[in-house]
């Protein structure tokens, strides 16, 4: 398939993304269907998109990742444009950091025991850190999906939304540290990793200042021009050293939210672009998935499986800690942590960024792990979360078993009937899986 056809496909996805913007309950909670579509059209399944074509879209993928970093940074610490309580943000960040760190240490420990032939000594820490970064997130889009679909409202729903939103910081910052740990060979200056992390952040801050100047009095396309230019320049500067563009643009976004003359309007303008950017990115991530090198080193599959198990344990622990730390969560069950297992756009972007940055086994393993985490999260998290929200009375309980006294209705009748139950489902918003029971 030619690159132009692929580009048209991506634009169609982007178009769909614009139509879906703000409609949290559409599709699956993680957008896994677009990932699956990517795998299907990619080299591993129907090979409609060849590997070389996927590679051609490298600049586009990099740009989308950097843009995503900006969007997350601009909206960091806010839900629906409103600033959220700092304490809850801190809880979210700490829980995510704890989960990531637990996984990192566990995997690093395992790598000391089990030797993976293709990973050198220096790469082991990088690999363990990468695994931790990929698995740290609880997807805010999944939480949003569950609450929107089940009409959940209340303090627990709000808390979970904040926690899931705040924890975006951890994987993005972690990837910033990881990339700084291994700058490119062509760099002519030797600096410690911490200095490279600082430089990544500094680039974001400096460019945010320039953006704020550009945005003063800007309107229409000038705003987009200023934002696009600054994101691209951040990307160009950081990627040149092998640093993380996503972390750079995240810092850019956070700084800009504080500096820009009209940050609120800016957020209203930029945040809705997340979905149109995300859907093509998910497709490309799926198409880029390459498990050949992992297949050659089967031990890696075991390590990844182990990491996934540790994540489940760590997230379960996070749930317990959340119950202890936040008074509003005390009425939830001890299994709240299963509801935090969801992984979504951040996980995939971290995996994809790692695959682009670290060629070979390391990068491919991290992308594969990200996809695996999304699948596992999709299977368990929405159900567990809904159960918790129903238990605390914030979500509507699932419909009782089909009423036998009624004749089997047609699809349209069924939808009308559901609408008649007082639940705010429209024709396009059918109940979630499990509700049909």
């Amino acid at each position: 398939m030619s690159s132009i056809v692929v580009l048209m496909g991506l634009l169609v996805l982007s178009y769909i993304g614009t139509l879906l913007a703000g409609k949290n309950a559409k599709g699956t909670s993680s957008g896994i269907e677009f990932l699956a579509l990517g795998v299907l059209v990619g080299p591993h399944a129907f090979a409609l998109v060849e590997r070389a074509t996927v590679q051609q879209f490298g600049p586009l993928v990099q740009t989308a990742l950097a843009w995503f970093g900006l969007v997350v940074g601009l909206d960091f610490g806010r839900i629906g444009g409103q600033r959220v309580p700092g304490r809850q943000v801190v809880i979210g960040v700490l829980l995510s950091a704890l989960a990531g760190l637990t996984v990192t240490l566990a995997v690093f420990g395992l790598l000391q025991v089990v030797k993976v032939p293709y990973l050198g000594a220096s790469q082991q820490a990088l690999f363990a850190g990468g695994v931790g970064a990929v698995l740290a997130e609880t997807s805010r889009s999944a939480i949003g999906w569950v609450t929107a679909r089940h009409g959940a409202k209340g303090t627990v729903s709000d808390l979970l939304a904040v926690v899931a939103s705040a924890d975006d910081l951890v994987p993005i910052a972690a990837v910033g540290v990881l990339f700084a740990y291994a700058p490119h060979d062509n760099v002519r200056i030797l600096l410690p990793s911490s200095a490279w992390v600082g430089i990544t952040a500094l680039v974001g801050v400096v460019i945010a200042v320039v953006t704020a100047i550009l945005l003063r009095g800007a309107a229409g396309y000038q705003v987009w021009g200023a934002l696009a230019g600054t994101v691209l320049l951040t990307l160009g500067c950081t990627a040149r050293f092998g640093l993380s563009p996503m972390f750079g643009t995240f810092v850019l976004g956070v700084t800009l939210a504080g500096l820009a003359p009209n940050a609120r309007a800016l957020r209203r303008l930029v945040v809705p672009t997340e979905r149109p950017v995300m859907l093509p990115l998910l497709l490309l991530a799926g198409a880029r998935l390459d498990m050949r090198s992992i297949a050659d080193a089967k031990i890696v599959i075991l390590v990844l499986g182990f990491a996934m198990l540790v994540r489940i344990v760590a997230k379960y622990g996070s749930g317990l800690l959340l119950r202890a730390a936040a008074p509003t969560a005390r009425h939830t069950s001890p299994h709240l942590g299963f509801g935090l297992l969801s992984a979504g756009p951040i996980t995939i972007t971290i995996g994809l960024a790692s695959a682009l940055r670290f060629s070979g086994l390391l990068g491919e393993a991290l992308l594969t792990l990200a996809v695996g985490a999304v699948v596992v999260g999709e299977l368990f998290s929405p159900l567990a979360l809904r159960r918790e929200l129903v238990a605390v009375g914030e979500a509507t309980p699932p419909e009782p078993a089909a009423r036998p006294s009624l004749p089997p209705p047609s699809t349209t009748d069924a939808e009308q009937e559901l609408a008649g139950t007082g639940e705010h489902w429209t024709t396009g918003e059918l109940p979630a899986r499990g509700d049909e029971s």
Binding site: T63, R240, P276
Partner: protein
């Protein structure tokens, strides 16, 4: 930013923008110094970023001197390009061609959409007179100038007088071409309206079509003069006729589809325009037709056969603003300064002669057509610019006459460089002087725009 119209700017703001420009240049300069070879795609992505930012900032800085934004974009491209600061290398500049594809598509759409029949009717007499006279006099005039100067043009020494006449004819086609992109670029900034604007848009867009026909005709005539074994063949003209008809049909169909989309859906025009810019260009190329002409026709169809013309124009303006910056800044980065340094005397002579002939012809044409004073006085100023279309024509000539290609291409680039820099300045000056430019009104707009980004939501 000033909102795009220039005008008075507080000194503090000007210095802040200067500091911002120095900051971005300094940042990339440092990055390039410590990591000279961009890994992966960092080079091209960073290049687009710096062209966009430096172009925007430079245009703002120059706007206090009432220079068009285009000049700022081109100047920024020159500055960061391979021959001054070398922040972008030649290979990266070449890799920016997809941006040009999109920009040219948008320019053609906008050009077509600017052709409103009711306005064309008003200027039809001026337009037809100017088209005939400008094309004929500039064509024959520049043939004569080029032929007369052949002794001073290095690569012409090896040609016998007859062959030299053939080359001069080809050069004259290059000279007849104008720049739709520069015209629309200046109009996008000034948002000018009035008889001069209508005349210029109509003339420049219509001259596109004339040049395409002229090129095919002249190449058929010049071939037997330049190549000893070459013969005159009318088949090229027949093929051209077929292509033109096909292109117009495709453009009409595309225009009707677009009009229907705008009427019944009307959403996400940015994505639709980008898809058309890349996808439709590829399909039309595949069919063997001329994409730019097809888009021009499509734009005209939307404008004149539907009620969606203004919506369409507005969508293009919103989309093309960013694209124009990169397009013109990359054109600036493309300018081969060493070549200009080498060929400047002859390039300047050719560009000057063309401008002079254009000026005199415009005066003559206005007298014949009894144009209103504003057109009589300033119409010539919009006809000096040359840019991508001209280089495209030089490229076609280079492909058709390989022996001539590189040397003639170099001279064309040098001459276009002069016209690309001077032309937009003259055109903006004309719009400002005639009061058609909305710069004055823009001062008030700027106050409102300072409430800023909110206006975009």
């Amino acid at each position: 930013m000033s909102g795009g119209h220039g005008g008075k700017k507080p000194l503090g703001r000007w210095f802040a923008e200067l500091a911002a420009l120095l900051l971005v240049l300094g940042l990339l300069f440092t990055a390039k110094r410590f990591a000279p070879h961009a890994a992966g795609d960092a080079g091209i992505v960073g290049a687009v970023g710096i062209l966009l930012l430096a172009g925007t900032l430079m245009s703002e800085l120059l706007s206090v001197f009432k220079l068009p934004h285009l000049t700022g974009y081109i100047g920024a491209g020159l500055l960061v390009g391979p021959y001054v600061f070398h922040l972008i290398d030649e290979e990266t500049v070449e890799r920016l061609s997809p941006v040009n594809t999109l920009a040219l598509a948008l320019i053609a759409f906008a050009g077509g959409a600017e052709l409103k029949i009711e306005i064309l009717k008003k200027v039809v007499r001026s337009l037809s007179t100017a088209m005939v006279l400008q094309t004929t006099i500039v064509f024959f005039g520049m043939t004569g100038v080029f032929y007369a100067l052949r002794g001073s043009i290095g690569f012409m020494h090896e040609y016998a007088p007859t062959a030299a006449l053939g080359v001069a004819l080809l050069w004259a086609v290059i000279a007849v071409s104008r720049s739709p992109s520069a015209t629309l670029g200046v109009l996008a900034q000034t948002r000018a309206k009035g008889p001069l604007t209508s005349f210029c848009v109509a003339f420049v867009m219509a001259s596109d079509i004339v040049v395409v026909v002229l090129l095919a005709t002249v190449m058929s005539i010049a071939r037997p003069l330049i190549e000893p074994g070459g013969t005159f063949s009318a088949s090229a003209l027949r093929v051209l006729g077929h292509d033109l008809l096909g292109t117009v049909s495709v453009g009409t169909s595309l225009g009707l589809i677009l009009a229907l989309y705008l009427r019944f859906v009307g959403k996400q025009l940015l994505v639709v325009l980008v898809a058309l810019g890349f996808g439709a260009t590829e399909v039309i190329h595949y069919l063997g037709f001329e994409p730019l002409l097809a888009f021009l026709v499509a734009g005209a169809v939307v404008q004149n056969l539907s009620k969606q013309g203004d919506v369409f124009l507005h969508a293009i303006e919103e989309t093309s603003g960013v694209i124009y910056v990169v397009f013109f800044a990359s054109a600036g980065a493309h300018l081969k300064l060493p070549l200009l340094a080498e060929l400047w005397p002859i390039a300047l002579t050719l560009a000057g002669s063309r401008a002079l002939i254009t000026f005199v012809t415009a005066k003559l044409s206005s007298r014949v057509a009894k144009d209103e004073p504003v057109i009589a006085k300033w119409a010539w100023a919009s006809l000096v610019s040359q840019a991508g279309l001209t280089l495209g024509i030089a490229g076609v000539i280079g492909r058709e006459f390989p022996a001539l290609g590189p040397a003639m291409g170099a001279l064309a680039i040098a001459t276009v460089a002069v016209n690309e820099i001077v032309g937009p300045i003259l055109f903006k000056l004309a719009l400002d002087r005639t009061g058609e430019s909305q710069s004055t009104a823009a001062l008030h707009d700027d106050e409102e725009a300072a409430t800023a980004v909110a206006g975009t939501t």
